[in-house]
Symmetry: C2
Subunit: 126 residues, 2 copies
């Protein structure tokens, strides 16, 4: 059985919304790639029961509304929101807002990077 899976999302500019959990068989996080058209906003605000959300903005500018605070976002903004934060988002009128959203169970990460990685002696046969 293969240890990996792959899918092709294509250009982010033409995406409406793609969720990767089913496509890739994810077990540790849900990941979505999203496009909010220029001048529009999320249709309702929401919070979460258990999941931390992490947003990474790859194109456009807009605004987060989190617990009443207004936070401008742009290409390269990265945001963490705890489950209880009530959030909504809107795109400026100038361009679509494109972002990756990651959901993961709050507090579930045990270790990462150097602690979790195992260096291998195998050499790729490029």
């Amino acid at each position: 059985m293969k240890t990996y899976s792959i899918t092709e999302i294509g250009s982010f500019d033409s995406i409406k919304r793609v969720t990767l959990k089913e496509k890739l068989g994810l077990t540790g996080a849900e990941v979505s790639v999203n496009r909010l058209p220029a001048g529009t906003e999320s249709s309702f605000s929401h919070a979460h029961k258990r999941n931390e959300e992490i947003y990474i903005f790859t194109s456009g500018t807009g605004m987060f509304w989190i617990d009443g605070d207004k936070i401008p976002v742009q290409t390269g903004s990265a945001v963490r929101i705890a489950p209880s934060g009530v959030r909504a988002i809107k795109a400026d009128s100038s361009a679509d807002l494109i972002y990756i959203c990651i959901q993961a169970d709050e507090g579930s990460l045990v270790q990462a990077t150097r602690e979790d990685g195992i260096r291998s002696e195998q050499r790729p046969d490029w």
Copy 2:
């Protein structure tokens, strides 16, 4: 205490490598944004102890080597690798390869999206 944190990565084109766990106080996943210069490869292959890795390629073309398989990647490719998969990566000579890498504890996701979300009646005061 605020339920959110934010950081500015800036343009992905000028990034070397940025990790977000410390910057944002992440507790469910480690997220990094990475740039592998054109024509170069990761300096060693590696696996993981507990973490699933999810890669999303935002620019460039290149190749994954996973357990001896060679898998072409390009803008919009999304890849899941189980902890035990031995992996390395290289960028084609034509352009830098830019990608987001997410690490999360394998099997830790309990629920996501509709199951985990709570619709709120609060309305943003844009």
